[in-house]
Chain length 293, copies 2
Amino acid sequence: MASQLAQKGVRKRTAVICATDESTQQSVAMAIQQGWMEAVMIGCTDQVKQSQPLMACSQHLSFIEAANDQEAAEKAVAMVKEGTVDIIMKGLISTDVVIRAILDKEKGILPAGNVLTHVTAASIPDYHKLLFFTDAAVIPYPTQEQRFMQIKYITRLCHQFGITQPKVALIHCSEKVNAKHFPFTAGYASLIEQAKAGAFGPCIVDGPLDLKVSCNLHSMQVKHIDSPIQGSADALVFPDIEAGNLFYKTITLFAHGETACMLQGTQCPVVLPSRGDDVMSKFNSLALACLHC
Amino acid sequence: MASQLAQKGVRKRTAVICATDESTQQSVAMAIQQGWMEAVMIGCTDQVKQSQPLMACSQHLSFIEAANDQEAAEKAVAMVKEGTVDIIMKGLISTDVVIRAILDKEKGILPAGNVLTHVTAASIPDYHKLLFFTDAAVIPYPTQEQRFMQIKYITRLCHQFGITQPKVALIHCSEKVNAKHFPFTAGYASLIEQAKAGAFGPCIVDGPLDLKVSCNLHSMQVKHIDSPIQGSADALVFPDIEAGNLFYKTITLFAHGETACMLQGTQCPVVLPSRGDDVMSKFNSLALACLHC
């Protein structure tokens, strides 16, 4: 992703809220040094100005004071509305504070009709291509309408990455529709129909499928399943946040996965790392957000 | 596990239902050849008798005819009640048929007060010890009572494996109790109290914790969480089947995990592989069941 950005020769502008932690500072400095980002550091400016990694690239930095975390988040959101920044990134500040500023009905940046959700792009050594998935962090148990939007956003993201007809798997622990115990599986059929009718542009949507059938042709054949995903999914839509979050954490902890994440539905990409994310994950997320906007 | 069994010098008796698929036949033959199992092959006997791997160990095999799958499952269950077998294993037959025979109120093998659930023992190259978890396959969304029994079974299994004070993590996507969106997290507190009061024998139960905090000390420290699990869980109790099943499939597909699984709550261990499981997984499950009974 970063190399694609370097070729484009554009510097995207990122508002970074309360970047008092070292991994945020390092990831921002790396993005600036690669030539595709400049940053407005909002809040905790005294502390941020002393950051060694950031001092090395100060010509692409500016600073805005804020009385507290809430004001810092609100200032970042206001800059998006004014068009003076392209991206928001969260540093060491409560996620709730940022989300509240984003969702504010008057001053926020979630356009009417949009759904706030979360996407991840993952590079897993044992998978043959980039794997996109949603939602590891925002919507607990998506409704049918929210899931429709999740498919819409993730398909659009795949298109942006040059995947002309992304294969999108609707995940479940089994391949059987079970309206009694898993009502959402009954909703998958109409999402597949909507996909066929063109609601998401060129793509192939199928489910319910489990992870192995979605991502491994042999598993599909052993189970005698016939899915157009053909064990080669580009994107996974998880039934709920427990599944999505667990997948995110399992691939990073046990499968050497590298990830990039951002919010979707907002007027601009929002990078909202969790405290456990490392520098590379934050850097990758900045690259994803810069590519997306 | 297999080496522990070989040392014990006991042959456990397994009823294998409809073993018409090669991976079931091979796993049974391997267990017999290692000296710790003998098998009663129930149903589809003409086909099973022609199996090359099984022919090589026919002195430890017997055969019982059955008119159909249902009768085969019922005969296996009846043999458990009579005490003539120690374990049940499912071959190429619908899981539902086996579960129905197990749950039959008169002839079944689920004692009153028990809960039918599923445990997995996993060896993951990037984790420093065996990791037990529940439930990847049976209970969709456990109630508080069912979760109590899941903790009971998995703690007992850890004790059997020589872990004197197993660390059991109650998994959630976050470390915060959230009664509104995730009611089960509110129930975790009383399970922790019950554990402290000795309901499960010697063990440490804590949660809600996410996977990384449960299995990685550094992640725990970065998030400023103070848990007695100390990033070194022996067992994970997942919030629902979507999470448990996904963890199972992610570690086997992307993290080179090896697994062994069985049902819990039944009068004897029941090995219920899914069609996508390979020979080693079935063999490991037989070893787990033989150790457990």
